[in-house]
């Protein structure tokens, strides 16, 4: 068998995944922390204030990466849920369900920081604007997935039910992304583009990409740890868990 394929098959084994997650999660954080730290330090203290928004534009460096992550994590959760539903791979169920609290955390950051930015710029903490409302619905979807997963005793049935909700919820993602185009929105249009030209000067843009890369590494670290915790919970009572618990 192809060694890469063999590795993927082996990773599906709970003890192998546990060792993998325990080994690689700290490395993800080790990559994430300097990237986020340097990016935010640059964004807070080095980059000049915006000529219109003043210092409040610095909220952008946490708001936009979090907003992008809130949608990317949901998409990834749905991908894992599809794989888990079709091929019944237990590890994918665990990974899909581990995505939900992390995505919810990024969505909370997005909504809170957006609200804090909105007060001085729009004169209101909240507006039932299409972008804000759809992002709030995304948070409710995350909470729904988490709630459904914890409401059913049978872990596998719970993961399938919650996974189905995640798959259905994916329909919201294009609505969030294009809400500023489809409707007359108070929220500004797209400023940052992955592949096209960004509407921001490059001297102010590069700290954003550092934070953006950093939150990705953070996400994978958190995903591995949360999946490891769920994996241990599901495998409670097995010999390998008892052996793992004995390790110093």
């Amino acid at each position: 068998m192809n060694p890469v394929l063999l590795w993927f098959h082996q990773l599906g084994s709970p003890p192998v995944f546990d060792r993998f997650a325990a080994r690689w999660a700290p490395w993800c954080y080790l990559v994430a922390l300097p990237l986020i730290g340097i990016g935010l330090w640059q964004g807070l203290f080095v980059v000049p204030a915006d000529y219109q928004q003043g210092d409040s534009f610095r909220i952008f460096y946490i708001h936009v990466p979090s907003a992008m992550m809130s949608m990317l994590v949901f998409a990834l959760m749905a991908v894992y849920a599809v794989i888990a539903l079709i091929w019944r791979i237990k590890l994918c169920e665990i990974l899909a369900m581990a995505c939900a609290p992390i995505g919810a955390a990024f969505t909370v950051i997005t909504l809170a920081t957006g609200s804090i930015w909105g007060k001085p710029m729009w004169g209101a903490w909240w507006d039932w604007d299409p972008r804000l409302t759809t992002e709030l619905i995304l948070l409710f979807l995350y909470l729904g997935v988490m709630g459904l997963y914890n409401a059913i005793d049978d872990r596998r049935a719970a993961a399938r039910a919650a996974g189905l909700l995640a798959i259905v919820g994916v329909a919201l993602l294009p609505v969030i992304k294009y809400s500023v185009v489809w409707w007359n929105s108070l929220h500004q249009g797209q400023t940052i583009s992955l592949f096209g030209k960004s509407g921001m000067d490059s001297s102010m843009e590069w700290p954003f990409w550092l934070v953006f890369a950093g939150v990705h590494a953070w996400f994978f670290g958190s995903l591995l740890l949360r999946a490891r915790a769920d994996n241990l919970r599901r495998e409670a009572g097995k010999d390998w868990v008892a052996k793992m618990a004995d390790r110093p």
Binding site: L44, I62, G237, A245
Partner: protein, 54 residues
């Protein structure tokens, strides 16, 4: 206007939520491993003899 207070508030929210995300999975893992250790200790311990009395 500098809006420094708004910036501090937003970064504080970010720090708190990220800290929560950092701490919670570690606590969950510790709890699961502790439960496994306790389960193993319970299984090792011989059960006390039961005297049948009327």
């Amino acid at each position: 206007m500098t809006y420094v207070n708004y910036v501090i508030g937003a970064y504080a929210v970010f720090a708190v939520v990220m800290l929560w995300d950092f701490v919670v999975p570690r606590l969950q893992i510790r709890r699961e491993l502790r439960a496994a250790r306790l389960r193993k200790a319970r299984e090792k311990k011989p059960s006390p003899p039961v005297e049948l009395t009327r």
